[in-house]
């Protein structure tokens, strides 16, 4: 088969089984877009800003486990994609971003819409390529998909100069079945000796903790994790990225840990004598003050990325390997009879943990006559029966969603954990809905975040992705305001939103349904109405209590056992701010 460079890209993507390309055309990719025009197998989703293309593709990858694919033009198209690439990089999401580049002959001459994409993205990709010859396209794309999806996944950029996709130059094309890279051999199986040692240590624990992160989801190891936790009878906590790996409604789950984790999760971590970290990277939002992190614990760390091990926290037993494979091996040892836990100590440990639970750290004022954001999330959980895919933006609403929506399955909680990218939620919801049209998808957001990618309401209309936007509108950049309240004597420097648009009219202008509510008793009916409108995107603008803060909280420089709890549940209603 003789194809041009542009046709090779499209044919390759088909052969790779790509369903969707999220993109935006422009000069340097016109040949490619022309090749796309002549086929129907791959659906191209036209976003309204390249950042959204990367978020939507990223979310598609998060919900399906398959790599997301992005196509953008050179220059501004490419730089607009960078935020989304960095977002995927921080959360280890497999993604292939194809960017157009100015023709090879003018690279380096400051040509129109030229930017050094390979240079700009270098620190925020797993790898990147510049295609220099049309004959290399297929092999480079093969490598790109291979690198993006194996080992610790991540985004890969393939920069293609315009002349490489020239329709007049045709060469034979064959889908490269195999790929081998002498410089890239990601670990798969863990070291059996280390796994045995880890299990031995785990079984001697008196106050064990299982601390599991996003690696569990990426590795599809939820089933194995559940089995391990059930068999051992140990408590488990999740990072923000791990939520859904283990069912949140199970009694062995002590909640999320870290800065806005539960009191019981953080206290358990602090007092624990053996911690097993599974696909988690001891992020600063998890550890709090490093030198006082888990002072009594021996630490086992399973991760596919050797560089994640001992990066911030000293580890006693490291295991480099794929989580699923390592857990399987560990479970096999347990089945062989290596299963004697310290039952007495464990019983006492659970008594202690349950005492911490009695603090009821997530309680809030349910009598308020203002809408509490926590209440909205609880109702959202009930109305969707806990079965929805929830995407979120970044800020207080993100924390409320992680605390009050109990994720019982993996790949249901889609948020920007590492980079903390505002604007992520709406395009992510669209990407998720395209992947699973039959599932309910809600975007939990705030009036500040949503405006960072609001233009995607047009994309939602064009591709009929009826997502529900749950806008927790407190007329503040809530998380910024909270920190200013705690650390800057309530000097609310530029953290409030003046001139907030009329979201109802805005939604309507984009062809959607807008609903605004401001009373607690309206929450449930409004949510029900929104989800009853099966084929419509609904923008639910919920005016919440402006003063609400996220509790509990580990303030910066503090340890796990120094959480700030809500002082009194009945904080004065309508507390005046500034």
């Amino acid at each position: 088969m003789e194809l041009s460079g542009g046709q090779i890209v499209v044919q390759y993507l088909k052969d790779e089984g790509v369903e969707f390309i999220f993109g935006y055309p422009g000069g340097a990719v016109l040949h490619l877009y022309d090749a796309l025009f002549h086929q129907d197998d791959i659906k191209h989703i036209l976003v309204r800003h390249e950042q959204a293309a990367t978020h939507a593709a990223d979310s598609y990858a998060r919900v399906t486990g398959k790599p997301g694919v992005v196509l953008v033009t050179s220059g501004p198209g490419a730089t607009n994609a960078v935020t989304g690439i960095a977002t995927a990089y921080m959360d280890s999401i497999p993604m292939v971003v194809i960017s157009g580049q100015v023709p090879s002959a003018v690279i380096g001459s400051d040509a129109f819409q030229e930017v050094d994409m390979v240079g700009i993205t270098r620190p925020c990709v797993k790898h990147n390529f510049l295609v220099k010859d049309v004959k290399d396209i297929a092999n480079i794309l093969k490598k790109a998909f291979y690198v993006a999806t194996t080992g610790r996944p991540g985004p890969v950029v393939v920069d293609i100069p315009k002349d490489i996709t020239d329709p007049s130059v045709k060469i034979p094309y064959k889908y490269p079945k195999k790929v081998s890279m002498r410089s890239y051999n990601p670990a798969t199986k863990g070291h059996s000796g280390q796994i045995k040692k880890a299990l031995d240590l785990l079984l001697t624990a008196k106050k064990p903790m299982i601390y599991a992160g996003g690696g569990v989801i990426l590795s599809e190891a939820s089933k194995e994790l559940i089995k391990l936790v059930e068999t051992l009878g140990y408590p488990i906590t999740h990072t923000l990225m791990g939520l859904g790996g283990y069912p949140a409604t199970d009694k062995q789950f002590v909640g999320m840990l870290g800065m806005h984790g539960t009191y019981e999760a953080n206290m358990s971590m602090h007092e624990s004598d053996v911690i097993i970290a599974i696909g988690a990277r001891f992020d600063d939002r998890v550890t709090g003050k490093l030198d006082r992190f888990c002072p009594y614990a021996k630490i086992i760390h399973i991760d596919i990325d050797p560089a994640s091990i001992a990066k911030t926290v000293k580890v006693d037993i490291p295991i480099v390997g794929d989580i699923k494979s390592v857990l399987k091996e560990m479970l096999a040892l347990i089945e062989e009879g290596h299963n004697k836990t310290n039952v007495t100590a464990l019983a006492a440990w659970w008594v202690q943990i349950n005492k911490w639970r009695e603090v009821n750290c997530l309680e809030y004022n349910r009598e308020s006559r203002l809408i509490k954001p926590q209440y909205v999330i609880e109702q959202l959980y009930e109305v969707t029966k806990g079965e929805a895919i929830i995407t979120s933006d970044v800020g207080q609403h993100q924390m409320f969603a992680s605390q009050y929506y109990h994720f019982n399955k993996p790949r249901r909680w889609i948020n920007s954990g590492g980079l903390g990218t505002m604007g992520f939620g709406l395009p992510a919801a669209i990407g998720a809905k395209l992947a699973y049209p039959e599932m309910e998808v809600a975007c939990v957001t705030g009036e500040a975040s949503i405006q960072m990618c609001i233009q995607e309401l047009a994309t939602a209309l064009q591709y009929e992705t009826p997502v529900k936007i749950i806008n927790l509108n407190n007329r503040y950049m809530g998380m910024v305001r909270q920190w200013q309240e705690f650390s800057y004597e309530s000097r609310y420097s530029h953290s409030y939103m003046e001139a907030i648009p009329d979201f109802v009219k805005l939604a309507e202008a984009y062809g959607h349904v807008g609903i605004q509510i401001d009373k607690p008793e309206e929450v449930r009916p409004a949510l029900e109405e929104a989800f009853a409108l099966k084929d419509r995107t609904v923008f639910l603008d919920i005016l919440t209590d402006r003063t609400e803060n996220v509790y509990p909280m580990i303030e910066s420089g503090k340890a796990h056992n120094e959480m700030k709890l809500r002082v009194a549940i009945d904080t004065p209603i309508n507390r005046e701010l500034a």
Binding site: R122, P123, K126, L130, R182, S183, P306, A307
Partner: protein, 163 residues
């Protein structure tokens, strides 16, 4: 501690900037960096001198290994090794100081490779520490220019860093 890390890396455009970029992005020290082709045209050899605690050096080697273009690397401090650096120094000389300068260069096994009525260029190889010592014993004011290659190294014995 000072470490010499020897890296085999794919001989591709941008490989050097991936390594250099990693050091700036993660805030690691970099004392010197040399790159050249090897007997295998598809590979470059990079020798990097860095400072750090054991923990930092461990992270550096892990992060370098994580770069897709890096094929293999060793920390030469882990084994007995030979270290060499090339230096060329241009020195102002006078009728009175010429003999003394030549004798000093001889002591350090340096060679005078360029002579003008008022200058010498001295070529010297050795460990970076030896080159430092030479510079320390000559009159600082006489130095016109110092050009150093940065250290390279190779392990002793039969083992070597190759594919």
């Amino acid at each position: 501690m000072r470490h010499i890390i020897s890296i085999l890396i794919e001989n591709e455009a941008g490989a050097l900037s991936r390594v250099a970029g990693l050091f700036t992005a993660r805030g690691y020290n970099i004392e010197s960096l040399t790159v050249a082709m090897t007997e295998d045209k598809t590979l470059s050899r990079m020798t990097l001198v860095t400072h750090g605690s054991d923990r930092v050096i461990e992270q550096i080697t892990k992060q370098l290994n994580k770069l897709i273009d890096v094929v293999k690397l060793i920390d030469l401090e882990d084994a007995v090794h030979i270290e060499r650096e090339l230096m060329m120094v241009k020195i102002k000389t006078s009728r009175e100081s010429r003999q003394e300068m030549k004798r000093t260069a001889d002591i350090f096994r340096g060679k005078i490779i360029d002579v003008t009525p008022y200058t010498y260029v001295i070529e010297m190889t050795g460990t970076s520490a030896k080159l430092d010592s030479f510079l320390a014993v000559i009159d600082e004011k006489s130095i016109i220019e110092v050009v150093r290659s940065g250290a390279t190294g190779i392990s002793r014995g039969e083992k070597g860093l190759h594919l």
